[in-house]
Amino acid sequence: MQTSYRRNSELSLLLLALVIGSGSLALVEAARDLRRVELVVPFMAILVVAYLVAHIVVRRTAREADALILPLAAILNALGLAAIYRLAPRGFGPVQVTWTAVGAAAFIITLLVVRDYKILARYKYILGFAGVALLLLPLSPMGQEVFGARLWVNVGAFSFQPGELAKIALVLFFAAYLAERKELLALATRRIAGIHVPDLKHFGPLLVMWGLSLAVMFYEKDLGSSLLFFSIFLVMLYVATARFVYMAFGGLLFIVGAYIGYQVFPHVQVRVQVWLDAFNPDLIEGPSFQLAQSLFALSTGGLFGTGLGQGRPDLIPAAHTDFIFSVVGEELGLLGTAAVVLCFMLLVTRGLHIAMNGRSDFGILLAGGLITILGVQTFIILAGATRLLPLTGITLPFMSYGGSSLLSNFILIALLIRISHQDTAEPAPADTAEILIGGRG
């Protein structure tokens, strides 16, 4: 088998990513104080060790997996870490590098525990309930409102965003559910205006998801997540059934929901107003301040950027979460932002490649769903930070500050790598898989 070839590619790309990442950290600290560059050495060490250990585990347990996923995650993670360290070297920096280690551990544990991803399909209802529960957890008394959105849950001294983990649980549920029911859901019993339309009762799950995403929007006031959950479900439904009518109907439902949200919530109206008129002097010191600062950072960066540690991205409020991309834009310029966008595009491409080479419906839908979360989430926040679309605050995968986000994205790529390995390595496609799906094995 050609194992060593793939894993050696992964290792060399990973080393390249880690060299760039470590170099970025060193540059950032050098810009602060040239005589104290050694302060970043522990950060580099944690980063390098975390990814090398992750690589060794992949080498041992997923030899045939895609070689690009881990290096791409590493370069994005390292660049994000450098940007966060640059913003708050004594505050967010150490926390983020700690979460990187924790995330890598979660990655390893996922790979070690989930030796056969198809087994996960057995737990689809548990995962589904867990997903919904996690999603709605912030509404419980443990929830906490931050920046107007109720996304956080406090557990002792810790606070986390359960929505990040909920995404993965829900995608697992959707994949298993749709793999089981896809023929049924795709069955078109009627034709309306020349279009095959499935039986009305099959629109039930769609409406349930719509209700759930509306709940997220109305009660947690989180447009970004609401859009994300619903669009993932739509995409997966479409992939499973090939019925574009679900997509169209779902899109219509979402527009209705968004319109209601716009009418009901003043803060949604403000978001739209800010998007349309970001540089209005009446808004610029108030509601559009953050977006304007993001655009100032990007425009100041120009083509080449100011150089790492040489700009003033700290002027952007919450730069380390929603606007980490603008930090890169100011200090590395269009070359840096284009590189980041390319990395995400490559990651999405590899994810879709894994899905398309899947040997089971569950595997295809799971990989497709997982990579769609990552792609759509990336698009929503990048479009917001660059004023392509109204801003909705969600994290940029692997780059933004935040433990919940890093942890769930590490689990996400671990699952992708597992699927990739399993569906490449397994010689015979159909036999075992069909039995296992739906927990009938």
């Binding site: 499973a240 090939a242 540089f279 990007l298 003033r312 002027l315 966008v341």
Partner: protein
């Protein structure tokens, strides 16, 4: 399902390409217009992260310095002498920008004057932070303080300069302002201080010394006298009628003498005596006779143009546009009518005579010094023009010495020092008290200091004020201080 996945892939590709297109727009095509938005404070922060150079007096008293702070703007501008140098240093404000020396020498103070020293290279490599160059003024703190003390609570201005070099040794305008609140880091406080200053009349932000003109009154007679001597048709012994009043052609309103009577008991009066006792009727006649020559003299002194200076100036005017208006020409001979001058301009009138007819360009900056003490720049000594011949200047000096020795300027006398001077008591508007003026230079034979003192509406002396009683003693204090400081 592969087909659908491929379509999803295309969808995401289009979405990411849209982001990339938007990035090109924001970071390249519209970058300049976005970044230049005033709400983008990056260039401001950059400027405030540089330790701006100090502004020092000639005798190395710090009058503006940058001190490190803990807030986002790393350095705070401080003016330890508060309002004493407000009109010279100006302010360095977040909201209102920089003004006066802070503005004129902004590049040097920021260390961006283009001269790269070893210190700059060292700063860059050791990361010890950028530091601007210091600006050393020509102002002497002792003269500046003397000017403030001399003027006291009176509204007005005093300008003193070295007539040979143009170095301004004192420039005080009362009221003045404290630049500290306007240069603070709190916009609300800055605006409050600004509004407070602008609500006052007169506005303390206005530099009376250089940006506002007043009728110069009899001090302007030295210009008339210079023109008369330059014409070649008159000499100090030329005689004039000595009437109680003089009525120019084309009008019935007459010009009378300050005393209300004649200047020399009737009969005849010499030009020398007319200047010594400040005889209006003589100079009103001369105003008609030498109007043409006065154009050349005033031009050579810098009238009718903004004087090139390190802080803002307004032009003093000697307007001869309406040549055929004889009453106006006559009034101009005694520094009334259309003639309007700034105290700075009157100091230059004195300096021009002191300097043999060559008017020095006034300047406030002696040199620009880098952190290591090296001289980065030294503004050149220049002249504004030639107002009169050297012999005219010499003759006029003798006449002005007589003004102080035995004329209206006696209050400026300093034992052992020959001082040349001229008083002025200028009518401003109907009903208001006259402005008291005095211009002088000393020592008469080798002038080191030229002074103009202006007391608006006579200050606390009100209607009783004259140039001789109010302004001359003030000029005397300045001259005496300079004599002690420079030991001449």
């Amino acid at each position: 399902m592969q087909t659908q996945l491929r379509k999803v892939g295309w969808g995401l590709l289009v979405a990411f390409l849209a982001v990339f297109a938007q990035l090109n727009y924001v970071q390249i095509f519209a970058a300049e217009s976005i970044a230049s938005n005033p709400a983008n404070i990056r260039s401001l922060l950059r400027e405030y992260s540089i330790k701006r150079g100090d502004i020092l007096t000639f005798d190395f008293v710090t009058v503006a310095e940058s001190v490190a702070t803990n807030d986002r703007l790393k350095f705070l501008r401080r003016y330890p002498e508060r309002d004493l140098y407000g009109h010279i240093t100006g302010y360095y404000s977040l909201v209102f920008g920089a003004d006066r020396i802070e503005r004129t020498f902004n590049e040097q103070l920021l260390g961006e004057s283009g001269v790269i020293s070893m210190q700059d290279i060292q700063d860059r490599f050791l990361g010890s932070g950028e530091r601007g160059d210091d600006v050393r003024l020509t102002i002497d703190s002792r003269l500046q303080t003397a000017a403030r003390d001399a003027l006291g609570g009176n509204r007005g201005a005093i300008v003193a300069l070295d007539p040979q070099t143009g170095a301004v040794r004192a420039m005080w305008s009362n009221p003045s302002f404290d630049p500290n609140p306007i240069s603070s880091h709190r916009p609300a406080r800055i605006r409050e201080a600004w509004d407070q200053l602008n609500a006052q009349t007169p506005n303390p932000l206005q530099n009376l010394a250089a940006t506002r003109g007043f009728p110069p009154g009899s001090t302007f007679k030295v210009v008339t006298a210079a023109a008369a001597l330059e014409s070649g048709r008159f000499n100090p012994q030329s005689t004039f009628d000595d009437p109680v009043s003089f009525t120019p052609p084309q009008t019935s309103s007459s010009i009378s003498n300050f005393s209300g009577g004649t200047c020399a008991g009737g009969g005849q009066i010499t030009l020398a005596d007319a200047l010594r006792v400040s005889c209006n009727t003589t100079f009103a006649q001369l105003g008609l006779e030498v109007s043409q020559e006065m154009v050349g003299v005033t031009r050579g002194m810098g009238f009718n143009d903004r004087i090139p200076f390190d802080v803002q100036t307004e032009a003093s005017t000697f307007d001869r546009a309406d040549e055929n208006n004889l009453p106006r020409r006559s009034l101009a001979g005694i520094g009334q009518g259309d003639v309007v001058t700034t105290p700075l301009q009157m100091a230059l009138v004195a300096a021009s005579i002191a300097n043999g007819g060559e008017t020095p360009r006034p300047r406030l900056v002696e040199e620009v010094i880098d952190a290591a003490g090296g001289i980065v720049a030294r503004p050149a000594e220049e002249t504004l023009g030639t107002a009169m011949s050297e012999s005219t200047a010499r003759t006029l000096t003798e006449l002005m010495v007589a003004v102080v020795e035995s004329g209206t300027g006696a209050n400026a006398q300093i034992p052992g020092v020959e001082i040349a001077g001229k008083t002025g008591t200028a009518q401003s508007v109907e009903g208001a008290s006259p402005h008291a003026w005095f211009i002088a230079f000393a020592p008469a034979q080798n002038p080191r200091i030229a002074v103009a003192v202006f007391v608006q509406n006579g200050g606390s002396f009100g209607a009783e004020a004259t140039g001789g009683t109010v302004a001359a003693p003030m000029a005397q204090q300045i001259i005496e201080t300079d004599r002690q400081v420079r030991e001449w």
